[in-house]
């Protein structure tokens, strides 16, 4: 009879468990990727990554908040984004004084 020991059976049970786990991870990852490729085809590109951390996930530098304007629906004016909260505080209380 071929050598079958507690050692060899333990080893084979351990390998069964491990290969099952690996197959599970690989199957989920490949299926996920297949789905992404089928859904987004050509337009699918990975998020941009840069070590220095200067650029965002689209590869763009940080935009200055002061250069962005938000439209205020109450007074119909464009307000600089980094001053919008202060503007709203004044704008919304104006009529109640």
């Amino acid at each position: 009879m071929s050598q079958i020991t507690v050692e060899s059976v333990s080893q084979s049970i351990y390998e069964n468990l491990l290969t099952t786990l690996i197959q599970d991870i690989v199957s989920r990852t490949t299926t996920e990727e297949q789905l992404l490729r089928a859904r987004y085809n050509q337009s699918l590109s990975p998020y941009y990554y840069e070590k220095s951390g200067a650029l965002d996930i689209h590869g763009n530098p940080k935009q200055q908040d002061s250069s962005v304007y938000v439209h205020c629906d109450r007074c119909n004016r464009d307000v600089s984004a980094n001053r919008f909260a202060a503007h709203v505080e004044r704008c919304l209380t104006r009529g109640r004084r």
Partner: protein
Amino acid sequence: MTSSDSRSLELKAQIQQYLVQSGNYEIISSKLTQMLLEDGWMDEVKRLTNEEIKSNDSTNFTQILAKVEPQALEMVSDSTRNNVINQIRQFLGEIVDTE
């Protein structure tokens, strides 16, 4: 396959079945999963899988598994491996006659 091979396969199947029925298989399986998760092994295997998908430009399960499996088996830390095998050995010691 010789008759002794099939005999030993049968014995392994019986032992495995006993471990499942006694609830010990579940204990070993959750312990292994827990340890591999804490080691970061799970995330590492997932990262490796994505890497192989990219470098082979394939999402074919069989093809990717053949690349990933041998590496993933090697990546298990010695402490996790020994710990789990010891636990299995201990359960086996309770049910198997050794001479």
